[in-house]
Amino acid sequence: MIDVWVDSIIGGLLLGLVYGLAAIGLNLIWGVMKVINLSHGAFMALGMFVIYLLFTAFGIFPYFGLVIVIGLGLVLGMLTYFVALHRVIDAPELSTLLATFSVSLFIIGVGTFVFTTIPYAIDISLGSISFGNITILGTKVATGLISIAFTAILYVFLYKTRLGKAIRAVSMNRVAAELMGVNTTFILALSFGIGIALAMSAGALIATIFPFTILSGGVYELKSFVICVLGGLGSPLGALVGGIVLGMIENVVTLQIPTSYVPVIEFSILVLILLLKPSGLLGGKV
């Protein structure tokens, strides 16, 4: 019996780390730009298919393909900022919500056209780790570790580099940052690019452990909202912790109640936290 629990906790932790990675991007974008990115899920789905194509068409092993996914995410994100967001960045939130949603429609629309909505899967194996009765798939361990590594890299970038500090400065006060000589337009675009790169790589990682369709991103986007609200909107580290909490709920709580109730719990948590403690359970800032 205890094995089942340990198994679930480890599984939940590893899954939660990937969820966290997805949500970090969303949170970074909110923290710096005050934009709720409704194209997050679509970009995650894009990440899934890019890594799939790299693997099936060019034989690039998914974990190496991640480098390409990140580069592509950065470029696409910055492009999206200038095309869809720059004009409305100071408009009321309805505009940015709809602008990012229209980007999502575009990606999903073209994606459906190309890939239809049938499921795809990436067939790789890294073996498994066993101790006692517990077996953990190597791919899950790898995604968990890579998620931690990406989060760590993001933190070093935000706190130790000149550009990273500029991003934090812009998130605190855009006018003040501009007065320090920071090109804030570029920083906003860069932040969106990083957020998208994180979304796409999280999507790519998820694709290595679960089957996916072009519509899968939507589910993870909604999960990311829950995670962000749990950890505090705008706080990247909070997102990671929120992700772990959500992973735990999915894997551990389901030992006691049916899986189909998980979304009920998740979205009730979302609404309740927004009402009771909008700054999130962990409440921090960038």
Binding site: A91, P92, L98, F101, V103, G109, V110, F113, E266, P278
Partner: protein, 321 residues
């Protein structure tokens, strides 16, 4: 009470003309397409009360359409209650849920409110998925015999059509009266500056809750009619988040905060969508094209068709609102 003026007359007459066309031609194809347009108009006008007048971005507004649909459908399915009674109960139930929920979530502003409404929709959808008593994830299907009480399936469809027609006219008139009333003035004050509104004496909490309640009532009834006609209801259909965004799209396209805007927006949106679906080249790309069109509107015509015309020709302002 204010007397109806020209802006209400012409749009009501236009809608009535639209309603009459399938009746005169007896064309089922036209009827189906007009039914859909009327449904969209009702949804868009309802959302307009909370989004357009009050300025609260209700992103998961479709939840009330789904709730009304489920209540109506269940009442007919399990208890054989008459459609008209059932749909009114369904609408009132949706409105009651909105009112009580509004007490809590209307405290949130801006994006926080938007996310909360998405959360509400997803939570309700997930909950209904689990309620086996009302069909769970598979949903409920009418036995064809249900329609016998209404003189057969064909008559039942026509009944749905007339009920939807009546609903849109009522929604339209209510919308206009809200806009032209003291209540509406209070709502618009909240939209422009909630802090200023409360200082000016507007009981913002009460007004917001009432507006939210009203904006849930009509979608609740519309959901009842739609799923009755449909003969089947399931969570994926009833609480489809994309439909929520379509509602916002229609209000934005026509011009939010006006009475004529959402009506026009719904008409144009349904036509564009229909054309894209018919054209074989665009059929598979219609979602992507909708995305591009939406983006263009957000970026270059943020006040919608009516708003755009209003800015260009200030003189006709009072006739087109």
């Amino acid at each position: 009470m204010k007397k109806p003026d020209i802006s209400l007359w012409w749009i009501t007459i236009a809608v009535i003309v639209l309603i009459v066309i399938p009746v005169v031609t007896k064309s089922p194809i036209l009827r189906e397409s007009v039914f859909l347009i009327l449904l969209y108009m009702t949804l868009a006008l309802s959302l307009n009360i909370i989004l357009g007048y009050t300025g609260y971005v209700s992103f998961g507004h479709i939840v009330y359409y789904g709730i009304g649909g489920y209540v109506t459908f269940s009442l007919i399915y399990f208890y054989g209650i008459n459609l008209i009674v059932a749909m009114i109960i369904g609408g009132l139930f949706a409105a009651a849920i909105a009112y009580s929920l509004g007490q809590a979530i209307l405290k949130l502003r801006g994006a926080y409110f938007a996310i909360a409404t998405i959360g509400v929709n997803e939570a309700v959808k997930a909950l209904v998925n689990n309620l086996d008593a009302i069909g769970g994830a598979e949903g409920l299907y009418f036995n064809i015999k249900v329609y016998n009480a209404y003189g057969g399936a064909e008559n039942a469809i026509w009944l749905s059509y007339y009920l939807m027609s009546a609903l849109i006219i009522i929604t339209l008139i209510v919308n206009w009266y809200i806009k032209k009333s003291k209540f509406g003035l209070g709502l618009m004050a909240i939209r422009e500056d909630e802090d200023a509104a409360i200082i000016l004496g507007v009981d913002t909490r009460k007004y917001k809750s009432l507006a939210y309640m009203l904006s849930a009532l009509f979608p609740g009834i519309a959901g009842g009619i739609f799923f009755f006609k449909n003969g089947n209801i399931e969570p994926e259909n009833a609480f489809h988040l994309v439909k929520s965004i379509e509602m916002i799209f229609m209000v934005m396209l026509g011009g939010f905060g006006t009475v004529t805007g959402p009506v026009l927006g719904a008409l144009v949106y349904e036509r564009i969508r229909g054309l894209l679906l018919i054209n074989p080249l665009f059929k598979n790309l219609h979602i992507a094209i909708s995305g591009v069109v939406l983006l263009l509107i957000v970026l270059f015509m943020p006040s919608g068709i009516i708003g755009y015309v209003r800015e260009k020709i200030a003189k006709i302002r009072r006739y087109i609102e």
